[in-house]
C-alpha cells in the first residue's frame, strides 16, 4: 500500500521509537522568535546544555516589535528587554538572528519560506502554533511549547506522537472574489475547531493544485485553528519554481538533486488515509467570522445563525459569542460597522495579499471613522510592495503603511484595539481579547474583504465591489 508524505517524512526523520511509544523525531529546521524562546535559553543555561545543531536554528523578532519605528531602545521597556534577550541568546548560543538591520526581518512564517529555509520533505518546529504554514511546501511542521524549544535546541529532536492523516480535498473552481482565506475559513467552519485534533491535514484536489505557494501558505497557516497541529500540500512544480534561486536553496546540479528527493517525498498515488473529506470549491463564498473562534463563521451574505443551528457542544460558546460580540442571531453580518481594519499577519501579510487588498484600496478612501493599517509580513515583502508602488496606493487611500511584524494579530506591540472596537482583520484568531483590548472584537476575513470594509466603513461583500455594482 502507498504511503503519504507524512509517512515518508516521519520515517526519514525517525531517530528511534521511544519506550513511551512516541517517536524521537529529528527536526530539520528550528525557527525561533523572541516571545517563546527566552525561557528555553534560560533552561539551557541552568541545565548546562549546549545547542546541538546551531546551524539548523534561525531566529527573528516579530511578535513584540513596533511597526512605527526602528529606533532602539523601544519605548516599551518590556519589549526592549525581550529584544535584548534574543540578541544576547543568539550571540551566546551561536544562532543566526534576522533583525531589522539584516534586511531579512519579518514574521517567522513569512521569512522561512522567502529565504528558502523551508523546503519539502523537512521537519520544521517553532514555538508558535502557526508553524503549520510551512506545510505549504510539503514539510511536516509543528507548533511547540517552550520546553520543547529547549528540547530542540539541546537535541535537534522532539518526542512526539505521529498524527493520523485526513485528506481534505477541494475540487472544482473557486468563484471570483473568493480567496485562499475563504477556503480555510470554510474548511474550519465545516470540520469544526476541534475536528482536527489528533490529525495532520493533507490538502489536495484541483483548488490546491492551482493555488500559488502564497495561497497554500494561507491555508496551511490556519490548520491549527481547526485543531490539527500540522497541515500540508504535496510538493509539485509550483513548489519547486518558488524555491529555485532563493537564498538558502541549493543551486545548479544540487537543485536538480533536491527536486528528485522532494518529488520522492510526495504521497504515492495509492496512499492510504485515516480519513478523507471532499468539499466543493464552487460552494465556498467569501467567509467572515462573527464570533469568538474561527469556526464561528458564515458566508458574507448569510445571517448570524440561531443557537439551535449549533451542535449541543457548540451552543454554549455561540451564546457566549452573541453576548461578547453584541451581535444578535438572525442579523446579517453585512453592514456591521467597523472601527479598525488590519491587513497583515503570517496568514495574509505576503505580497499577493497586499496586491489583492491594493486593488480594492484603489477604488476609494478609508472612511474617516476607520483606522486602517497595512503591516507587511517581512522586510522583503515591504521592499517588493514598495517597488510596485503598493504603499502609495494604500497611503493615498488613507491606510497607514507600517514596518513588518505580527502587529495587531496578537497585539504584543503598541498596535492594539481599544475598548470594544470592532476590527476587520486579515489575521487568524478572533478569540476574546486577541487584538489587545480585553473587550475588543475581531471579524476575520480575506485581505480584499478587509480593504473593502475599510473603504465602506462596514462589512461588505467584496464581490459586489469587484463587479462594480456596489
Amino acid at each position: 500500500m502507498g504511503r503519504t508524505l507524512l509517512d515518508k517524512v516521519w520515517e526519514a526523520h525517525t531517530v528511534r521509537e521511544l519506550p513511551s511509544g512516541q517517536t524521537q523525531l529529528f527536526i530539520g529546521l528550528h525557527l525561533v522568535h523572541e516571545v517563546t524562546s527566552p525561557q528555553a535559553f534560560q533552561m539551557m543555561r541552568e541545565q548546562g546544555l549546549t545547542v546541538a545543531y546551531p546551524e539548523r536554528t534561525v531566529a527573528t523578532a516579530d511578535h513584540i516589535i513596533p511597526t512605527d519605528t526602528d529606533v532602539r531602545p523601544f519605548r516599551d521597556e518590556q519589549a526592549e528587554g525581550m529584544m535584548a534577550a534574543i540578541e544576547r541568546n543568539c550571540r551566546e548560543f551561536g544562532i543566526r538572528l534576522f533583525d531589522r538591520s539584516s534586511g531579512h526581518q519579518g514574521i517567522v512564517h513569512v521569512i522561512g519560506p522567502e529565504l528558502g529555509l523551508t523546503q519539502p520533505g523537512m521537519t520544521i518546529a517553532c514555538g508558535d502554533s502557526h508553524t503549520s504554514t510551512h506545510g505549504a511546501f510539503g514539510a511536516v511542521s509543528f507548533g511547540i511549547g517552550t520546553s520543547q524549544v529547549r528540547d530542540v535546541l539541546a537535541t535537534q529532536c522532539l518526542a512526539i506522537q505521529k498524527p493520523k492523516v485526513r485528506r481534505v480535498s477541494v475540487d472544482g473552481a473557486l468563484r471570483p472574489g473568493v480567496y485562499a482565506k475563504d477556503v480555510i475559513l470554510h474548511i474550519i467552519r465545516t470540520l469544526g475547531v476541534k475536528g482536527g485534533v489528533g490529525y495532520a491535514y493533507e490538502y489536495g484536489g484541483e483548488v490546491f493544485r492551482r493555488m500559488t505557494m502564497e495561497e497554500r501558505m494561507t491555508v496551511c497557516n490556519m490548520t491549527i485553528e481547526g485543531g490539527a497541529r500540522c497541515g500540508y500540500v504535496n510538493p509539485d512544480e509550483a513548489t519547486f519554481a518558488y524555491l529555485r534561486g532563493r537564498e538558502c536553496v541549493p543551486s545548479g546540479s544540487a537543485f536538480d538533486d533536491a527536486v528528485v528527493w522532494w518529488k520522492s517525498m510526495a504521497a504515492d498515488a495509492d496512499a492510504l488515509y485515516d480519513d478523507t473529506v471532499r468539499l466543493d470549491a464552487g460552494a465556498i463564498p467569501p467567509v467572515v467570522t462573527w464570533g469568538i473562534n474561527p469556526g464561528q463563521a458564515i458566508g458574507v451574505d448569510e445571517r448570524i445563525p440561531p443557537p439551535d443551528a449549533f451542535a449541543a457542544d457548540e451552543r454554549e460558546t455561540a451564546v457566549d459569542a452573541y453576548a461578547y460580540m453584541d451581535l444578535k442571531p438572525g442579523t446579517p453580518i453585512i453592514g456591521t460597522r467597523i472601527d479598525v481594519a488590519f491587513i497583515g499577519s503570517c496568514t495574509n501579510g505576503r505580497l499577493s495579499d497586499l496586491r489583492e487588498a491594493a486593488k480594492i484600496a484603489k477604488r476609494g478612501k478609508v472612511k474617516p471613522h476607520v483606522k486602517a493599517l497595512v503591516v507587511p509580513g517581512s522586510q522583503a515583502v515591504a521592499k517588493a510592495a514598495e517597488a510596485e508602488g503598493l504603499h502609495e496606493i494604500f497611503r493615498s487611500a488613507g491606510f497607514e503603511w507600517r514596518l513588518p511584524g505580527c502587529s495587531m494579530c496578537l497585539a504584543m506591540n503598541p498596535d492594539k484595539l481599544s475598548g470594544r472596537q470592532i476590527c476587520a482583520s486579515s489575521s487568524n484568531r478572533n478569540f476574546k481579547g486577541r487584538q489587545g483590548s480585553p473587550s475588543g472584537r475581531t471579524l476575520l476575513m480575506s485581505p480584499a474583504m478587509v480593504a473593502a470594509a475599510a473603504i465602506e466603513g462596514v462589512v461588505v461583500d467584496v464581490r459586489a465591489l469587484l463587479a462594480g455594482t456596489h
Binding site: H13, Q39, M82, S129, G145, A154, C157, V197, I224, R229
Partner: protein, 206 residues
C-alpha cells in the same frame, strides 16, 4: 538536568472551569507574555474573563471563595481545552496558580504536550462523567479530588470515574521521563546517523 520525577497520582482540591474551546489567549492574554521568565504568571491566569474594564470581579471560578483552598488544585474542564496559541505560558500560568492536573472531555494537542512536558497530567473522561463530576464538586467543593495516572481513575468523595491518558504520555508520567530532554540526549549517536541520511542536511551535495 532535572531529576526523574514520576507522576503516578495527583491529589488536590478541584475547581471546575466550565466551557468548550477555551483558548490559551483566554488562559493567559498575550500582554502578560512580555517577560523573559514564567514567574508571576499565576496571578494573571484567566485575567480578562475574571475582571471587567474597571477591575470589578466577574465572578469567575478562579475568584470564587469556595475554590480558594491552599495547596494543589485539579481543574475540571470540558472539550478542546487549551486550543489556539502554542504558548506554554498557559500551562505555566495554571501551574503557578496551583493547578497540577486536569480532568476534561478533551484537550488541544499542543496544550496537552506542553502539560506533559511540565509533568501535569491531562486525563480525559466521558462527557457524562465530566458533567457529573463538575456538579458533584460545585455542590460540595471542600473535598479532595484524586487523579490516578496508573489506575486510570479519578476519585471524588468515594465515587470513582474511569479516565484515560494516551499510552505514551501515561508512560512518560509514570516513569518520570516527561521532561524529554534527558531521554532525547541519550540517542546522540543515532541523531547524528539520522541527520547524515537526510540529503538536505548536507545541502544535497553528493
Amino acid at each position: 538536568m532535572s531529576q526523574l520525577k514520576p507522576v503516578r497520582r495527583v491529589t488536590g482540591r478541584p475547581i471546575p472551569l466550565r466551557g468548550n474551546d477555551i483558548d490559551t489567549d483566554r488562559i493567559i492574554p498575550a500582554r502578560f507574555m512580555k517577560a523573559v521568565t514564567f514567574d508571576g504568571l499565576g496571578q494573571y491566569v484567566f485575567q480578562d474573563v475574571r475582571f471587567d474594564a474597571e477591575g470589578r470581579s466577574l465572578g469567575h471560578a478562579i475568584d470564587d471563595p469556595r475554590y480558594q483552598a491552599k495547596g494543589p488544585r485539579i481543574a475540571i474542564v470540558n472539550k478542546n481545552f487549551g486550543c489556539g496559541s502554542s504558548r506554554e505560558h498557559a500551562p505555566q500560568a495554571l501551574l503557578r496558580w496551583g493547578i497540577t492536573a486536569l480532568v476534561g472531555e478533551s484537550f488541544a494537542d499542543i496544550f496537552f504536550g506542553n502539560c506533559v512536558a511540565l509533568g501535569i497530567p491531562c486525563v480525559t473522561a466521558s462527557e457524562a462523567d465530566v458533567a457529573s463530576l463538575m456538579s458533584a464538586v460545585e455542590a460540595d467543593p471542600a473535598h479532595d479530588l484524586s487523579v490516578d495516572v496508573e489506575a486510570l481513575t479519578a476519585t471524588f468523595r468515594g465515587k470513582i470515574y474511569p479516565v484515560d491518558v494516551p499510552t505514551g504520555a501515561r508512560q512518560q508520567l509514570l516513569e518520570g521521563t516527561w521532561d524529554a530532554t534527558r531521554v532525547l540526549l541519550e540517542a546522540a549517536a543515532a541523531v547524528r546517523a539520522t541527520a547524515a541520511r537526510l540529503p538536505y542536511v548536507r545541502s544535497f551535495r553528493r
